[in-house]
């Protein structure tokens, strides 16, 4: 191919259908353009209304027109009622400015059906820079457009569904939280009323044994109250921090006893148990500590009581271990009464599958409780 021919590309376009230039038949560029599957047209802006002067077979197949129907016409016959006016304006401006343009536009075939046309137009200039032709290629991108639309529609539908579902779940959670707070509030208020009734009843009673009974009952109710006060302070209501509870309980029982000579010794690992174990564990610890307070210590000659109550909570190898110890008078004297308290402890131990053992600690008594505790994640409980 000689240099001169490629310098004169405008000559190649003389072999159009319209011009019927015979010598172009052998031109490989023209042959390629005629035969390509890519739809192509050439328009002549020097003629009135920039008509089509060449259209290849692919263009005719795409649009459904015959060659004689399109030659000499402006390309706007491809537009229809649903064609985007903005896209049309974009093309018009590019042609006025002799500039390239690439735009997706909805076009109409001869039979009225539509297709999405990825249109590319570029001006072809001569040596002097004058625009001789416009070259336009059309690519049917209806499939791509359809999937784009489907994806957008799917995305919108999906987002809407997610939004609705989220709103439903939030509402359900809100309702559940409100209900939980309401129930929690009632449980706490009722526990407060039960202790208040017990205290009031006790005030009216003269008999010492009955008063004592009611006091013991109040301690048990208050142990339950302390569980409930602690239970819903954490964010996770299914877990119970038993060491915080033990601290509250022992402090409370010791101050209530008014015996400032008895000092607590607390060795409490942070241990979390499931909420359903909270009540039996609390009642059991309450029984053991009140037992020790009542029976383990004898008054000294000066009328005061001195001693030490220890609570140790640890978690060796998947077991939750509680040790309640005192340095008092020892088992022989401590085990005499409190038979209901003892039955309570043993029944609760059975419920918890706990082993319980009384040991002579010389001096004093040590009660060791050991129960299986499923591994609990150490959570930060607020």
């Amino acid at each position: 191919m000689d240099w001169k021919r490629t310098r004169e590309p405008a000559d190649a376009w003389h072999m159009t259908d319209d011009l019927h230039v015979e010598h172009g038949k052998g031109d490989p560029f023209a042959a390629a353009i005629r035969a390509t599957r890519m739809s192509m047209v050439i328009t002549d802006p020097r003629r009135p209304d920039n008509p089509i002067v060449f259209a290849n077979d692919a263009f005719l197949r795409l649009t459904g027109y015959e060659r004689h129907e399109v030659l000499g016409k402006n390309c706007r016959f491809l537009q229809g009622p649903k064609t985007d006016k903005v896209a049309v304006a974009q093309i018009r401006t590019a042609i006025e400015d002799n500039a390239d343009v690439s735009v997706d536009i909805l076009n109409y075939r001869k039979d009225g059906s539509t297709f999405w046309n990825a249109l590319y137009i570029s001006p072809v200039s001569n040596d002097k820079g004058e625009v001789q032709f416009f070259f336009a290629s059309q690519l049917d991108v209806s499939d791509r457009k359809r999937s784009e639309h489907r994806i957008t529609a799917d995305k919108d539908r999906f987002e809407k569904a997610v939004k609705e579902r989220t709103a439903e779940l939030e509402a359900a959670l809100e309702a559940q939280t409100t209900l939980l707070h309401e129930v929690d509030h009632r449980v706490k208020n009722n526990l407060q009323m039960i202790s208040s009734l017990t205290i009031m009843q006790r005030r009216t009673i003269k008999d010492e044994a009955t008063r004592h009974s009611l006091a013991t009952m109040l301690e048990r109710i208050e142990a339950l109250s302390t569980v409930h006060r602690r239970l819903y302070q954490s964010k996770d209501v299914s877990r119970f921090d038993v060491s915080d509870f033990a601290k509250d309980l022992v402090t409370d029982l010791l101050t209530a006893s008014g015996r400032s000579g008895i000092k607590p010794k607390l060795e409490l690992d942070p241990i979390v148990i499931s909420a359903e174990k909270a009540t039996p564990v609390a009642l059991m610890v309450n029984e053991l500590v009140t037992n020790a307070l009542k029976h383990a210590f004898k008054e000294g000659p000066d009328g005061t009581t001195a001693g030490r109550i220890g609570i140790k909570m640890s978690q060796p190898d998947g077991h939750f271990k509680i040790e309640v110890s005192d340095d008092g008078v020892g088992m022989a004297e401590a085990n005499g009464d409190a038979s209901f308290g003892m039955r309570l402890i043993k029944s609760l131990a059975r419920q918890l599958h706990a082993d319980i053992e009384w040991r002579d600690a010389g001096p004093g008594t040590k009660v060791v409780i050991s129960m299986p505790n499923e591994p609990q994640q150490k959570r930060t409980l607020s």
């Binding site: 929690d184 202790s195 205290i199 109250s225 006060r229 409370d252």
Partner: protein, 148 residues
């Protein structure tokens, strides 16, 4: 001996108010009034000279205890301690209150809280240990129990 406290009880449950009154009096303090609604509480804070008001969050006219605490706080004559089974409803700033006694409290817990409050109100800061079940507001925490 530290001067006893004059207490206003703002509580909608008669039973709890009754028992609270007994416990307050057994501890040597006096109860100057019992209000069951926010309106009653407002008028009683005007007509009595309470040192301290125990305010429940839920009153007969709804969850108005926090408003009552605000009102009492603006008058600057009495101090407020919330007494509620629902401490989560208390705003972070505690509406100016000293703190909260969480229900259900124990008899000893309340008695200890009364002693602690008596010391705090009469001769701040209190010297007793803070009782279990009693939580100070952040503002009072800073003054009554500054971190060592």
């Amino acid at each position: 001996m530290t001067e006893p406290l004059k207490v206003l009880i703002v509580e909608d449950e008669a039973l709890l108010a009754m028992e609270l009154e007994s416990l307050v009096e057994e501890a040597g303090h006096s109860v100057v009034g019992w209000a069951t609604s926010s309106a009653e509480a407002r008028s009683m804070i005007e007509s009595t000279d309470a040192d301290i008001a125990f305010v429940d969050i839920h009153l007969t006219d709804g969850p108005t205890g926090v408003d009552v605490a605000h009102y009492i706080g603006e008058k600057k004559r009495s101090m407020v301690v919330f007494m509620t089974a629902n401490p989560k409803r208390i705003p972070d700033h505690f509406a100016g209150a000293i703190g909260v006694i969480a229900k259900p409290y124990t008899m000893n817990g309340l008695t200890s809280a009364l002693r602690y409050l008596q010391e705090g109100v009469r001769r701040p800061p209190p010297v007793s240990a803070r009782p279990a079940g009693f939580t100070l507001s952040p503002a009072f925490e800073a003054v009554w129990a500054p971190a060592a």
